[in-house]
């Protein structure tokens, strides 16, 4: 066991527990974006940073396992430096994001949007500069990928590879040009994608989304020549079932 303090209160946690887990176990919420339970702990987004006594810089809580060397340390989850850093991280993400929230499928349940609100991002153009312009991949029957809304958290990549064992999407190129796409820029429809939708469920933003055929249904319903029979598919329910597991 390791004895630590979180925001001045003493806790005892098992060695190897990450700071994030230690906080969660004790009802203290730290925001996360790239972290996805069991499958994606890569310390990429830095939204989960905390201040730790003795550390020179802020620490990413999701990838820091507590050890006996941390005995007695105090971890601040919401200090001014932490809050400022999280806010800046969001502003930097927005600097390369199309921010098309009003017309976005995820508006209202987007993790990026929710965090901007929570952390008081009041200037979404704080870091103005170059933005990527990616083609939207609409090749698949069931979904589209709009990398202009992607924050490169790689949760979809982990879901595709680790939940499903498919691995047709990944982070390609480097630095500013990094893009979640398929090998050789292939259309998703031309890969071994099995249309499971796990990547959509894993995505915190509106970058991945089901295609919406509501208009086609309205059209069919309005067609007097058509006899309408409705059958719900079970796939939607199975996918929503997973949602509750990861959140």
């Amino acid at each position: 066991m390791v004895n630590i303090k979180i925001n001045g209160i003493e806790y005892s946690v098992e060695e190897g527990t990450t700071i994030l887990e230690a906080c969660r176990q004790n009802g203290i919420r730290i925001p996360t974006l790239c972290w996805l339970k069991d499958i994606n702990a890569i310390g990429a987004c830095r939204i989960c940073v905390v201040e730790m006594s003795g550390a020179r810089s802020l620490t990413a809580a999701c990838v820091y396992p507590l050890s006996k060397f941390d005995e007695g340390k105090n971890i601040l989850t919401h200090s001014p430096a932490v809050l400022e850093s999280r806010k800046m991280t969001l502003q930097l993400l927005l600097s390369n994001h199309n921010m098309d929230c009003l017309a976005c499928a995820r508006s209202g349940n987007c993790e990026l949007q929710a965090l901007c609100k929570e952390l008081g991002v009041d200037d979404s153009s704080y870091f103005e500069g170059a933005k990527n312009e990616f083609d939207i991949d609409t090749s698949s029957k069931h979904m589209y990928r709009d990398d202009n809304k992607c924050i490169n958290c790689r949760r979809c990549v982990a879901a595709c590879e680790k939940y499903q064992g498919i691995g047709v999407i990944g982070a390609n190129e480097r630095g500013f040009k990094t893009e979640i796409s398929c090998a050789f820029g292939m259309d998703l429809a031309n890969t071994a994608c099995v249309s499971c939708g796990q990547c959509i469920t894993a995505c915190p933003t509106g970058a991945l989304s089901e295609k919406d055929d509501t208009d086609k249904v309205w059209e069919a319903l309005a067609d007097p020549e058509k006899v309408v029979v409705v059958q719900t598919a079970p796939a939607v329910r199975a996918s929503l079932g997973r949602l509750s597991v990861i959140r």
Binding site: D135, D137, S139, E161, I166, G167, V168, I169, G170, A171, N172, E173, R174, S181, C182, A183, F184, G185, M186, D187, L188
Partner: protein, 165 residues
């Protein structure tokens, strides 16, 4: 989406194929085997087209996307063979502030290819490089062994015209 397959058709000799298999069999199973395999494969073929990456992925039991992600991450790997004339534009700090970025863009426009690509006739390949130690001549580019310094965007057409064989 633009499918980034190399513009020249892939062909390999039986020796190249055999060498690649030897490399894979020697390295696979080791931790971190992908990098040395890719480096040696590029030595064998000069570049890493989809055909070679597919063999590596299949032999190693990993996805093609994983291989491609690594290949596009590192500047040392190329998806295209080099052209008869290999154009390198320096995007090092000195050249960049002197406008080599514009020269690079102009070349992409005139040749109608992006950096890292090859013209369909196999004549010109274009790439960016880092400081080549000729900062006094910035902005600098090289075409094979010829060095061009104090470049302006307007000169690009005339320079390319010299390579007319």
């Amino acid at each position: 989406m633009a499918f980034k397959k190399s513009v020249v058709a892939f062909s390999q000799t039986p020796e190249q194929e055999q060498k690649l298999m030897e490399v894979i069999n020697k390295e696979k199973g080791h931790k971190g085997a992908l990098m040395p395999i890719l480096q040696q494969a590029q030595e064998i073929y000069g570049y890493l087209p989809i055909e070679v990456q597919t063999i590596i992925a299949e032999e190693m039991g990993i996805s093609l996307e994983k291989v491609y992600g690594v290949v596009t991450f590192y500047a040392q790997f190329s998806l295209n063979p080099k052209g008869k004339y290999k154009i390198s534009v320096c995007l090092g700090t000195a050249c960049y502030v002197k406008g080599s970025g514009d020269v690079y863009n102009k070349l992409q426009e005139v040749l109608n290819i992006k950096g890292g690509e090859l013209t369909p006739d196999g004549k010109f390949s274009l790439e960016a490089c880092r400081c080549i130690g000729a900062c006094g001549l910035a902005p600098v580019m090289t075409i094979n062994d010829d060095v061009y310094g104090r470049l302006t965007v307007d000169e690009v057409g005339d320079i390319l015209a010299k390579y007319n064989d």
